[in-house]
């Protein structure tokens, strides 16, 4: 019972932190759905700051600091309400109702997962658990190897370190994040298609949620102790908020959204090894858009731009014999520094013609360049990936079917601010292969292959894009009015 109580308190506290940070401006239901994911990101960043400052930082210490900071923020904001831009489908639900619903769902999920052994564990899961335990023992990651730090990151060790039992973990975390992802997807689809008449926004929202909820890989990942469902949830939130910023650059909520985008980007970078690269791609459409206030773009860049080097150089490097022991450490630190440099030089960066096309081309160039240097590895990775998405990865036909629908939708329809969604999805194609080339060994056939699992991260955003195409304009009509957005922005 104590274990369950501690788990509930930890999840409620993280949710409360996120609830405050998200704020009520976009409606109580949105605030509820985003609360836990955002709270996890905030708690992790506090843990990072404490670790970097060499303050013994057990996860509970970080959570208490995050709660206190959030409470102070809530008090400070009390008299400064932000004009609303509520997500369409959240009208009519009060903050109290939403909070009560959230607490009820959390208690129910925690009770069910405490009673039934629903959590799946594999070899990878067993790598997070000792990191969590070691972090919770002395708050300083003593004894954690460089390999665990670089591949398993800080987020899950921090979150699961909140469990009080030796080598314990939060059983309800995955299912709650799965529910949050489904709810956020439904809200985003309904909001993004609200210009349609009749019951179409609702039908599309239910259809999108059904498509994700019936994916066996999503279901598996929801009950799997690993980072995938959290990564997918954060990426969905990130690209959706970037899209909002592109749609209404002068919105009163813009500054807060920019902070949240930065927080989520930093979270992704601390969650998985490839997270920083994916976050950089997801931020790119925001960064190059001149209509968005420079200050907002700088906020979104600087938060991950500082967090990544602090993690890589301030924490991970302590476990390495030298900075070259793991090339990802200086490489990712440089990426973070690069984000800060870009933030500082935004007026110069803005003068680069077609920056999104250029960035996309650079990713391809790097991928092809490395592939030429190791054709065998590239071939093995491509063959394994093709084999996985056509059967061995246990996707069934769902991934190919979704890809076909998305390609058809994007080919024919112009979605508002679609570059926020299209750019990270399309650029992941070369990036997926690039990751294999950078790590120096190929992908493998089977559902446990890392790229096969990473593909899940893109699925909610891809479903959102497909659903939004229903409310888009015919690309032909749009093209007649002005060039395609990616072209215009890039």
């Amino acid at each position: 019972m104590t274990v369950l109580a501690v788990e509930v308190v930890a999840l409620l506290a993280m949710g409360a932190v996120g609830w405050v940070l998200v704020g009520p401006a976009r409606g109580a239901v949105w605030q509820l759905g985003a609360a836990l994911p955002v709270g996890i990101a905030a708690t992790t960043l506090v843990e990072l700051v404490l670790l970097a400052a060499r303050v013994p930082a057990r996860p509970w210490v970080a959570l208490v600091v995050a709660v206190v900071a959030a409470a102070a923020l809530a008090v400070a904001r009390r008299d400064r309400s932000v004009p609303g831009a509520a997500v369409a489908s959240t009208g009519g639900v009060s903050s109290v109702q939403a909070a009560a619903l959230g607490v009820g769902v959390l208690l129910a999920v925690a009770a069910i997962t405490a009673w039934l052994p629903l959590v799946n564990l594999t070899a990878d899961s067993f790598r997070f658990v000792p990191s969590s335990h070691l972090l919770s023992v002395d708050g300083n990651f003593s004894g954690v190897s460089l390999f665990l730090l670089t591949t398993r990151g800080l987020v899950l060790p921090t979150v699961h370190g909140l469990a009080v039992t030796e080598f314990g973990y939060l059983r309800a975390l995955g299912p709650l994040l799965g529910l949050a992802t489904l709810g956020l997807l439904g809200l985003l689809v309904r909001d993004g298609t609200r210009r349609l008449s009749g019951g179409f926004p609702t039908a599309l929202a239910f259809g999108a949620v059904a498509l994700l909820a019936t994916s066996s890989r999503f279901v598996f990942s929801t009950f799997y102790l690993n980072a995938h469902v959290l990564f997918a949830c954060w990426l969905l939130l990130l690209v959706a908020m970037v899209r909002w910023l592109l749609l209404d650059p002068s919105a009163a909520t813009g500054r807060r959204d920019a902070w949240l985008v930065g927080l989520l980007a930093a979270g992704l970078a601390l969650l998985r090894a490839e997270g920083a690269l994916v976050a950089a791609l997801a931020l790119a459409p925001l960064v190059v858009d001149r209509t968005i206030p420079v200050a907002h773009r700088r906020i979104a860049l600087v938060v991950p731009g500082v967090a990544i080097p602090v993690w890589q150089l301030g924490v991970v490097l302590r476990q390495a014999a030298s900075i070259t022991q793991d090339v990802s450490v200086p490489g990712l630190a440089a990426l973070g520094v690069g984000m800060v440099v870009v933030a500082a030089l935004l007026p110069v960066v803005e003068r680069i013609p077609r920056p999104l096309w250029l960035l996309h081309g650079l990713v391809w160039l790097g991928t092809v360049g490395l592939a030429v240097g190791d054709l065998g590895l590239a071939r093995d990775s491509i063959e394994a990936t093709v084999t996985n998405v056509t059967g061995e990865g246990l996707w069934g036909g769902s991934l190919l079917l979704l890809a076909a629908f998305v390609v058809a939708g994007v080919a024919l329809r112009q979605v508002d601010a679609e570059r926020a969604l299209v750019f990270p999805l399309v650029t992941f194609v070369p990036l997926g292969l690039l990751l294999s080339l950078l790590r120096g060994h190929s992908y493998r056939v089977g559902p446990g292959d890392s790229l096969n699992r990473m593909l899940l991260h893109l699925v909610p955003a891809a479903i959102l894009l497909l659903a939004l195409s229903a409310a888009g304009r015919w690309r032909r009509d749009r093209d007649a009015a002005r060039p395609a957005e990616w072209t215009a922005a890039g």
Binding site: F126, L134, F147, G409, G446
Partner: protein, 172 residues
Amino acid sequence: MVPRLHVPTLVVAALVVGSLANVAEFGDIEREAGNWYRALRVKEGHTLAELEDNHFASTQARFAIYLDARQYAYGAELVVPTGVDLNEEQLAGLAGAGSLVRPDGRIEVSGEVAAALDSMTVDAGDNELIGPYQVVVGIDEEPDRLLFVTGPGVTYLVSEQQLRAAGGDVPS
């Protein structure tokens, strides 16, 4: 000329078709996934005979047993028994050098641990018995491999560098 179709209807239909296709395949995929997952678990359980009896029944129970055995850090899929033994001198060197790091992060410095380990036997279940001390490799591609000096009920976590510094053999 693009035909003027009612796109919202088509997209709803696509979402429904995709969902139905997922549902139709779900059972088959789950069976395959179950086979894959069970195979993984069998591999994980190879150092404890009890796992063979329990891991199908309850993931949590399996995990508890796994932790009790201090084999928590890596699944056995990735744990390769090498049969590399450490002699008493090497173990004493490790302990004396203060280079044995317990899973909880504390440094174990007592040479008595080596003697205690020496008196134990290893129950490797259906697998070959590999002596009183077993050095296992965490994962072979990692640059800073963690090694586990294991005995029944205890696992000591050492880094490759620590093992080398103490004069231990590092399996390749």
